[in-house]
């Protein structure tokens, strides 16, 4: 070829390559949006997220239309069995062999700490809906995950403060002996002491535990007015049931459930839980929008949704909307774009995503109704007050997150 033709040919080739490169960047990777749902499907934490959460995720994808800009949405799931090993290796496999675009669900804190490390290594995106530890956006924050529904900070702040203000100023902590329990215990101790209360004792029980008799005995022996349950799921249910066997409430002590979900209250019944104060990120009966979504979920699943199920739907919708607007499912870009939009839907009021990955939104202090007050199988809570988004969560000034400092 002559010199001019060579130059022309190479310029056209370069221009074409650049054009393809830029359009490739704005495309959906592999032509599909792949969402992997990782949760405890068969153990202690099955009912707060589990298979119901997967249904909520499917509902979001179906309501969205099943595809984004022509690209299909593929959903797959795995049971992490509350094991950090299983969770981390599952996420690793998803990145290595399935090119997952979003990791959703994410329940037991121990699993989430391990899984978010893998997500960070792969520069991916995870939305944590089930886990409780506020440490997820504190010491364990990464640029590659968002903590959506709730964490131990507003739960401790809301419930503990209300209990101390009502006169419960001496506490005994019953803590699940792993990352989440420790995080909750730390948050609780801080709130109790700040409000003039005192932590007179505590015990850490193995996770999970069926037999709480020994620990309840120690709690009774401590003489504390309040027994704070720094655990969740089946552990909390077993502890409350054992406490009622040992006549704890009759003898004058009170139980404070810090991480109590709707399915727990339903399982234990109003007789055992009436009057229990708790903080929640959402309640199905709090307004018309919530009720409408909850009824749809109930048709599909057969039980009323809790805050985690609603949060999974909300976060998936927000994600899919962002991917559609952006035209790309590149995790880093999507994460940045998600933070630019407020989160206002039936689940979250006044919500937005902070630099540390925490999605802050209004939280609610609730009281469990008595059997006489309740008019239906799932009419379980009375919402007492709203804790505004800006006050509920750990302020950035107190944060140890590496993204902030």
């Amino acid at each position: 070829m002559t010199f001019i033709k060579k130059t022309l040919a190479s310029s056209i080739a370069i221009a074409a390559a650049m054009a393809m490169a830029t359009s490739a960047q704005a495309e959906i990777s592999d032509g599909e949006v792949r969402i992997g749902y990782l949760a405890d499907m068969s153990g202690t934490y099955r009912d707060l997220a589990g298979p119901g959460g997967l249904e909520a995720l499917r509902m979001a994808v179906e309501d969205f239309g099943g595809s984004v800009n022509g690209a299909a949405i593929e959903i797959f799931s795995a049971d992490d069995r509350n094991s950090a090993d299983v969770g981390a290796s599952t996420v690793r496999e998803w990145y290595d062999t399935r090119n997952v675009d979003l990791v959703a669900g994410l329940v037991a804190t121990s699993v989430v700490v391990a899984a978010t490390r893998v997500i960070e290594e792969n520069n991916g995106l995870g939305i944590v809906s089930g886990a409780a530890a506020s440490a997820m956006t504190n010491e364990y924050c990464t640029a590659n995950h968002i903590h959506w529904v709730y964490d131990t900070y507003p739960l401790a702040n809301g419930t503990a403060r209300a209990v101390v203000e009502q006169g419960g100023d001496s506490w005994f902590m019953l803590t699940a002996d792993y990352a989440f329990g420790h995080s909750l215990e730390a948050d609780l101790t801080k709130v109790v002491e700040e409000n003039g209360g005192e932590v007179v004792g505590g015990v850490r029980h193995p996770f999970p535990t069926d037999d709480f008799s020994s620990f309840i005995l120690q709690a009774q022996g401590s003489g504390a007015k309040i027994i704070g349950l720094a655990n969740a799921g089946a552990d909390t249910v077993n502890a409350i049931n054992t406490a009622s066997q040992f006549g704890v409430v009759e003898a004058g002590q009170q139980l404070a459930g810090l991480v109590v979900f709707l399915n727990d209250v339903h399982a234990m019944g109003l007789d055992a839980t009436q009057g229990l104060l708790l903080t929640t990120g959402w309640y199905w009966d709090m307004d018309d929008e919530s009720r409408e979504w909850a009824e749809r979920y109930y048709e599909r699943v057969g039980t009323m949704p809790g805050m985690v199920h609603a949060g999974i739907y909300s976060s998936t919708m927000h994600y899919l909307n962002t991917v559609e607007e952006l035209g790309s499912d590149d995790p880093v870009e999507v994460r940045a774009a998600m933070a630019k939009k407020p989160v206002n839907d039936f689940f979250s009021r006044n919500g937005y995503i902070r630099e540390d990955g925490r999605m802050v939104h209004d939280m609610y202090l609730a009281r469990v109704k008595s059997p006489e007050e309740s008019t239906g199988e799932w009419d379980l809570y009375e919402i007492l007050t709203t804790i505004p988004a800006d006050e509920a969560f750990r302020p950035l000034s107190e944060s140890q997150c590496k993204l902030i400092n």
Partner: protein
């Protein structure tokens, strides 16, 4: 207030009592296992599943047939025991002449099948079984509030353990059984139906596990996986006590319950593992077990 290593006396006594109650539970379970292994040389890995079936029989009996707790105490072990005899007759007998390992594998497989099918039907969250009315409430003993039901568990478990020990070591039937397993051919020559005896014994061992399951139903959530968590601890107890010894199983069960109870007071994080530490020690120092006869 008197303190024992930093723990008030009242709490200490309460923990000992709770430990004793848990120990009676372990004793009952490990007794069934020891009977089956000691006499039949079968390592019954399905024992935990039988315990769970006993609890489920109680729960479902109440839900669908209106059978109350007291009737269930008799019926559930009977039903599960018959089921166990069926398993022995149809499956275990065929591999009786083989290495112990096959019995272990077969019973392990059975346990997985039972648990898996029930998880499929009932899910994993435990169901609640209400405490029978006459056993609700508790006694103020001065150092702790002792729920009546737990006192009942202690009495029932120990009672059944002692009854079993007596039957095997002190009655003619027990003598036949012990002789039959030592020398089946000779016993058969004397006209004793040894295969039938073996089937009945397996059924009895399984019924013991089911009885423990009925006792457990009001205490712990009734879930298909409740047996697997417990089985491994029970095996450790049987290994510590000595695989063939009936009395060893009872005494060791009680002792391990006490040790576990004390660990929950002084170092609760280790409560799940202390029994295994004891097992390792015993295996290093006295491999036949504390009361074991053969190596």
């Amino acid at each position: 207030m008197t303190m024992i290593f930093g723990v008030p006396l009242a709490v200490f006594m309460g923990q000992l009592l709770l430990g004793l109650i848990n120990g009676a539970f372990y004793a009952l379970l490990s007794l069934g296992l020891a009977v089956i292994f000691g006499l039949l040389k079968i390592v019954n890995f399905a024992h935990g599943a039988m315990y769970m079936l006993g609890a489920f029989a109680t729960l479902l009996g109440m839900r669908y047939l209106g059978i109350n707790y007291w009737a269930a105490l008799l019926l559930a072990p009977l039903v599960v025991g018959l089921f166990g005899m069926l398993i022995e007759r149809v499956l275990l007998r065929r591999i009786g002449h083989l290495d112990h390992l096959y019995g272990l594998l077969l019973t392990f497989g059975l346990a997985l099948i039972f648990e898996g099918s029930l998880v499929n039907i009932f899910g994993v969250s435990g169901a609640r079984y209400p405490t029978p009315e006459v056993l609700q409430g508790g006694y103020q003993t001065g150092f702790m509030f002792l729920p009546k039901y737990r006192a009942w568990v202690l009495i029932a478990a120990l009672g059944v353990c002692l009854f079993t020990w007596f039957m095997i070591e002190r009655t003619r039937l027990g003598a036949y059984l012990r002789a039959g397993t030592e020398n089946p051919a000779l016993m058969q020559a004397f006209g004793v139906n040894v295969p039938l005896l073996i089937t009945l014994t397996y059924g009895f061992g399984v019924a013991l596990a089911a009885f423990a399951g009925v006792l457990a139903a009001p205490l712990y959530p009734v879930s298909p996986t409740m047996g697997s968590n417990l089985l491994i601890v029970v095996f450790a107890v049987v290994v510590i006590g000595g695989m063939g010894s009936i009395l060893g199983a009872i005494v060791t069960g009680l002792t391990m319950g006490l040790i576990e109870g004390l660990t929950k007071v002084y170092y609760p994080e280790a409560a799940n593992t202390v029994i295994f530490l004891v097992m390792i020690l015993v295996l290093l120092l006295r491999p036949a077990g504390l009361f074991g006869k053969e190596a």
